[in-house]
Structure formats: C-alpha cells, structure tokens
Symmetry: C2
Subunit: 303 residues, 2 copies
C-alpha cells in the first residue's frame, strides 16, 4: 500500500516564476486526493505525470484565490476530456455559490456530475471515508474560515501466517475472521490464539495538511503522532511579527508544532514570494525538528 504526497505548488499568494500557488496530491495506492487547487494546477498535474482521471475528490482548505483559482480550468478540462465519474469537492459552502455561475457559463453540459460537500470550518469532523481511508477536518487559525485536513488510513487487518495456518489446517472461510483478530476454534475444541496464526497489522499511516494558519496549540493535539505533517511556513523567524499579523507561521514555528506533536516527518511550504532561496527555511526548521523537508514543486514524499 503506497501513500505519498506530490507537491504541485508550494508558494503563497503571489506565484513566482518558479513556484506555483498551493496544490498537492495525496496518492493512496492509486486513488488520488487533490488538496487545494491554485491557478495552474491542471498544468502542474500534467507536468508531474499525475493520472488526472484518478482524482475523484478535491479538498479545499479555504477560499483565498491562491487555493482555488485552478478549479474552473480543472473542472472545464475534465468536461473536455469526457469525464463521466462524479467529482467531489469539499469546501466551505460559499465555493459552490461562487463556482456554479462560472460552470454554467463556461462549462455548460458537463458530462459528469460535480458534487459539493459543505465543510463546517468551526468544528473537526469526518468528511470522507472509504474502505481504507478517512479524512477529518480541523479548524486552523487564519483571517478567514480555514481548515486543515487529516488523512488517516483505517486500521488494517492482521496478516495471515500461511505456514502456521496450513499446519493447523485452517479452512479458507475462517481467514477473514483471523484477519480481524479472532482466535481459531478447531473441530476438537482446541482454541488457537490469533497471535499464533497471524502477523500484526501494518501500521495505519496518516498525513496532516495545515495551511494557512498561525501556530496554534489545538492543531498540535489533532495532528499528534502523525507520520507526515505539512505545515505552512510563509516566513522566516525574523518576520515572526508579520507572520502573526497576517495569520501565518514561520519555519521555526512549524518545526515547533511538528516537535510538540511528535510528528515523524515535517514538510514546510507556502513560502512568501519575497524569498528566492529556500535553504534558510530548512536550516531554521531543522534546528528545532531535524526531520524537515522543503515542499519543493515536483517533490514526492512518502508518508
């Protein structure tokens, strides 16, 4: 089961010639979740060879232009490409009201259905689940209603120890129960402990996406023990006051969240366009949390 995130854009509001506004794709064993959709996302998807057609769910953190202006083009292109599968968009309710007039004008007669799911940015809630994955929102601290997303693999099944199962002549019909942790009752009444017949389930991994936000202790609790944390770092520490004023974070603050939350790895992004060289961000963050990487465009990070 692969779980990785591809960075399509990691800049803040003003794009630069090298860095696009926010968008990324979480690849969960071939199902793709698009997270934010800044201008140029459809082109970035192509450049990074992400299989477009496999995106069925789009999660929008908040309604600032640099996180949504790629949607009209993406929605339109799906129409031109003859998409028929529903496309699900998760965002605060205003997005639907804003997009619908554009879609009705520019993308009449879409061959597929757009399904809007309204997020309540005031609370943490489960907004998506399938057999393997769940997505939970949590409020972050920005100028306008904004949420983070926690992508979490569901608890997995235990793995069958084929050798031992054969030894005890476990029938096939019993295997699903063993995977769920049940013991095996033999015909002679003997009970075989599940731990003998199975291996532990692989760990369930998690990815948390936090942008745009000030550092906030409530976030630390939500993302505790996460495998990979994406946290915005719009500024360096010498601009901490500006960061606070504009409801953003510094690299050091992002690293501090990762450290306190006991994250395994940290990705920082959403850099202000004032910075050409991103190396100082890494230096600053790693001084606090060693396992930090820059969310460089085109970068693919295993969760």
């Amino acid at each position: 089961m692969g779980l990785s995130v591809t960075i399509l854009g990691s800049n803040s509001a003003l794009p630069t010639s090298e860095r696009n506004p926010t968008a990324q794709v979480l690849n969960a064993s071939g199902r793709f979740f698009l997270i934010d959709c800044g201008e140029g996302t459809q082109i970035q998807l192509r450049r990074n060879r992400v299989h477009f057609g496999k995106i069925d769910h789009v999660f929008i953190s908040h309604l600032h232009g640099d996180h949504v202006f790629g949607l009209p083009g993406l929605i339109s292109s799906y129409g031109l490409l003859g998409r028929t599968k529903d496309l699900h968009i998760y965002a605060v309710a205003d997005l639907e009201r804003l997009l619908i007039p554009l879609i009705n004008y520019f993308s009449r007669d879409l061959p597929y259905k757009l399904v809007f799911h309204s997020i309540n940015p005031e609370v943490s809630e489960l907004i998506y689940e399938d057999t393997a994955m769940e997505v939970i929102t949590f409020p972050v601290d920005h100028r306008i209603p904004t949420v983070g997303f926690l992508f979490r693999e569901k608890p997995k099944e235990r793995k069958i120890n084929k050798e031992i199962c054969d030894f005890y002549q476990v029938p096939l019909r019993v295997l699903p129960k063993l995977k769920k942790g049940e013991d095996f009752l033999r015909d002679n009444g003997e009970s075989i402990a599940n731990e003998r017949l199975t291996f532990p389930a692989p760990p369930s991994r998690s990815y948390a996406f936090c942008t745009d936000t000030r550092v906030n202790s409530s976030i630390i609790e939500v993302v505790r023990d996460v495998d990979l944390l994406y946290h915005e770092a719009t500024f360096l520490s010498d601009q901490e006051e500006l960061a606070f004023k504009t409801f953003h974070s510094t690299a050091r603050q992002a690293a501090d969240v990762a450290r306190k939350a006991n994250a395994k790895k940290l990705l920082i992004g959403h850099f202000s366009s004032r910075y050409k060289d991103l190396a100082p961000f890494l230096v600053e963050a790693r001084a606090v949390f060693e396992e930090t990487e820059i969310a460089r465009e085109g970068g693919v990070f295993e969760v």
Copy 2:
C-alpha cells in the same frame, strides 16, 4: 519604436505539460497590451520577464475558459502588489457580470480600479487609442461571439533633416509643422518644399490577432497588408472537417489567409493538445505562405 509580441501561451482549450492556454503580450515601446488571459498567465508573465506593472489594457477575444481563466489570479495579484493605476479590460459584456462576484469575494478592497469596456462582437469598431496606437475589433467566426484585434500604429510624423534645416535657418518653432508635412516659408517669401527639409515618416506597423475562428473571407479584408498576422491553426489539414465542425482552422487555411491578405509575416498558434510535435504545422503552412513561424511559448516576434 519597438513593436513586438511575446507568446505566453499558444495551446487550445486543453493545456499540455509544455503549452499553456492562450495569452500574449504586445510590447509597443514599453507599453504592454495583454491579449487573452488563459489560466497561468500571471506565471507566464513572470517566466518571460514581462514587466507586469506596465500592463494597463487587457483585450479578451471571447469568453471561453482557456482565454479568460487567468484573469481572477492576475487581478488579485495586482491588488496584492499594491497597484493603483486603473486596469482596463475589453471584452463582451458578460465578462464583467461573471468576474465581479469573484472579485468582490476574493479580492475585496482592490487598491486600483477595474474599468470594463464592453465590446460589441457583431461589428468592427475602434475600442482603444492613444497618441501612438489604435486597436480595432473585427468579428470572426466561432461558436460563440468572438472578435479579432487589429493593433495599428497611428501615422507617424516625418523626420527632420537637421542638416538642411540648419542650412535654411529653420526656427525651432517651425519644426512641429514640418513634421506634419507643411512647407517652410522663409522671411524673404521663398517657400521650401517639405520634402527637402524632412525624411519620410517611418511606416506605421500593424499586428492582427485572430483566434478562435474558422477561415473567413471578411477577415482577409480587415487584416489586409498587416505586418504580422497571428492566426489560429488548431489542426492540420487532414482534420479540416473537424476544424470546420469545431469552428477552428487548419495550418494551411491560416497560411491561405496570410497569403490572400498580403500579410508580411504569419504566426500560427492555438494548437490542439493532440499534437506533440508542431513541426508539421510549419511545413504545411510554409507550403502556402513561406514567412510563417510557430507561436512558441516564450517566443518574441518583431512586428
């Protein structure tokens, strides 16, 4: 006086990993006219080092997404950059109605004024002029109301022949009249012919932009003798039927327009994303009109 066009995007509706949707900039001696504004235009402007702040006028040929989806981001970025000069947008009236709700939501309190100029796509009309340049629309033949743009330098003044003027002791106050073509009347009553005192005015150059359109004989008349003609060539000739059906042109048809209109040079663009290699477009067009170039992204073409 420089006059050149920079190609920011030359693909048709579906962008590819290498080609952006339509946008280009006409640079008239440091004043920049943006023509169409597909998604990603603001990033393409940066990549091609076009001086952003010098664009005061945006001309939109028609309201298909691949020609306008870059506007919300561009308008928003100008706001973030603290622009104070008016930005003029020339398009059919619907654009204003569609953009205003987005701007009111995403770009509240713009520090500059957006001025919408409504184009009547049914007629040819002068929609812009300054001391040196005029812009004339003309209807083209597409699925929805669409116009082409003819950018034309105004007639220029004759150049002073300093040596001869000194010989005849022409006073400085007379020079503006000479530039306009008047003869010079000396104090002794002798008249000196303007042709002796001045050199001919430099030619007034013109650039015509035609996309998206079927070939159409009325276009040939409007763009007659143009210095540089941009004409769409969405398909190669083997797809002439598809081109007609979708209200587009082939490379051969574009070249035929250039030849019949006696254009000096032809630029072809708006290529269908089905074509990876654009060389066949050049071969096909040059067989009809030798002075053809491909509107490659980042290309700068003198008018």
